[in-house]
Symmetry: C3
Subunit: 272 residues, 3 copies
């Protein structure tokens, strides 16, 4: 895992983010913490220029606006044209028609490198895009040790059918390119009490995939390990009276300080 | 007060927030800290679906956009249809015609459960909506021990005339449904040096009212006590060199850690 | 320097910010920390009312939207009419045509008091506005001890030609009104690992210029010293395991606690 982290720190990938206004500041600070560099722009007339000076594109559909949707398509097409990796974070797919349809539209029109979401968002996309129908859609709403085989099979199949790396994050994280599946057990449940740890991971994952063009699967899995491990390190530094706001800071701090060696030691994953 | 807090932690109310982009991240983290769960969406075509999966709606008019105004009305009508509580935070009412008129329009068209603002915003609405005219509008620009009787009478009357719980926050906080008025003395003046403690309270109050449908007045008052008490606890943890940024974190942390018992002990209120 | 800081604390200037959604929360908290007061509004129909109740206007073109651009022009014209200082932060000028052209358009149409950016943004504006052509545009992409004379000459000339105070921030900061140039050596390189320290400075600088109408150059330079010194103080309080997120909090805390005396002692500048 170490080299994927070090490649980010050594190449400082510039990531264009079209992302929600709720967690955008944390996404920017996480990108800086991990060794990348963030730019944010969602205006349709601005995004092509901005994405052209970047190395990767992170599209997050939280707090969608009609105008930002146009920006997502334009930026995505430009990034595809330039061969930049494009990550989609389908925040809230399944919760509204606009979000589901926008995510499906982006999947259809763009060549995505990675889709990262929770199991319910990913299932929504799998069903809506007509892939992995039938039994696969019965995968449970949380990935647990009990349903792990089924979940791994679902994620692998969806990745294979879409030709996209699929990253499902939760108590157990799964990252697959259709052939191999990383099963990752880093992280803490208390991370769910901080808004936007998923959005932060998507930003960081885009930097990792951008900085490791030959190894996008491994890089995406490494980003998941970094986030989870940072959650563990951050938690170990919590003091009496600290809560979710301080925990947020400590996680970002842990990303900032993480070395390749620490990641190598702390990453808890198996490959299936 | 204890049961209102515990009902939030036990039922994890999902709150739809249409709120300004300045303080939105803190609103989300406060909602998580108090035991609720946040979703943000202001796009007119997205809000009806989103509010339908939630339990309550928090409308905050800071950083209004023409497009988000339409979202506020559509979300509010849907929430009313579904019987969800709707809270209005009229940020900056009185400072611009757009804000004043939007707040008044929302009051007129929607069935609001609660309006929470500072005394000057609430006075603006009282005058503009043609309620509590005359002597009431003379209530001072800050609620103090000296003008408390007058202020309580104003808030009660405005609540009665609008059929809405009115929460006026400041050095002394008043929460009334027209019959009863909670006079709350928790909090610290330094909270005014953090952006958005009012917005945070509005988000949390929506969770409290949603989780306590039979007791909206008591729940709204409990949320005010939680915020003020968290301000006191957070302040007690401040160290040499800490300032408003750390104080912000400590307040959210205190909300995260607060128990029903602590609230019961720390809440400073009288009922008039 | 002391009096410029104290004038902010004593007069509590209200600053209207039209700024990007990435760093807006930090801008608001920095304005409160330094003794000012923030309002944010970018909707074209809202900005004239809002800027009228303020003392100064801070225009930041990060995350531009077509609609917010109209807001910038309308707010700027109103602020000019009222004699309020207007600061422009040309975030990303040079990175996209929309940003470059918007910044140039604002320079052309508005009477700006200050432009604050990094050297590359300022060079873009100098070239694009047809000022300081030729040799000046050859100024390097970072101000260093090695190219300081050249950089000072460039900034002075651009300030003189535009009749605007130019503040170029980086490892060495330059602030000039065309005649005098402050060369400031406060700050830490790690500040670049926090998103938005430039945006924060622009907000604070607007408060400083607003509170010191007779001394805008000195006030702008004082704001630069405060930010850099806060970066030094914040860094001195960092503990094992702290990273960029905690550093962000500590810098804002240091601004909150800074006294005129501390500034007087800690400011490192020379006048050329």
């Amino acid at each position: 895992m170490r080299e994927y982290l070090e490649n980010v720190r050594n190449t400082v990938p510039l990531v264009h983010n079209i992302t929600n206004y709720v967690t955008v500041n944390d996404v920017a600070n996480v990108l800086l913490a991990c060794g990348g560099s963030p730019i944010m722009s969602d205006e349709a007339e601005d995004v092509e220029d901005i994405t052209s000076v970047c190395g990767g594109l992170n599209i997050n559909i939280g707090t969608l606006h009609k105008t930002s949707i146009e920006g997502m398509f334009r930026a995505g097409r430009k990034a595809n044209e330039l061969g930049h990796p494009v990550l989609l974070d389908p925040v809230g797919a399944g919760a509204s028609a606009l979000r589901t349809n926008t995510a499906l539209g982006l999947m259809k029109e763009l060549n995505l490198s990675v889709i990262r979401g929770n199991i319910s968002e990913i299932k929504t996309l799998a069903l809506g895009s007509g892939t992995t129908k039938g039994v696969d859609a019965d995968v449970a709403d949380a990935v647990t040790e009990g349903n792990l085989d089924e979940a791994v099979a679902f994620v692998k199949k969806f990745a294979e059918e879409t030709g996209t790396i699929i990253a499902v994050t939760g108590a157990i994280d799964l990252v697959s390119d259709g052939k191999t599946c990383y099963v990752i057990r880093n992280g803490r449940p208390e991370m769910g009490k901080i808004t936007g740890t998923g959005c932060q991971l998507s930003g960081m994952m885009t930097a990792y995939v951008t900085a490791n063009p030959e190894h996008p699967l491994e890089a995406a899995a490494a980003a998941v390990c970094v986030m989870g491990l940072a959650g563990e390190i951050g938690w170990s530094r919590m003091q009496e009276g600290d809560g979710n706001s301080t925990y947020r800071n400590r996680i970002i701090d842990a990303i900032y300080n993480m070395t390749g060696e620490e990641l190598e030691k702390g990453a808890k994953y198996e490959i299936r």
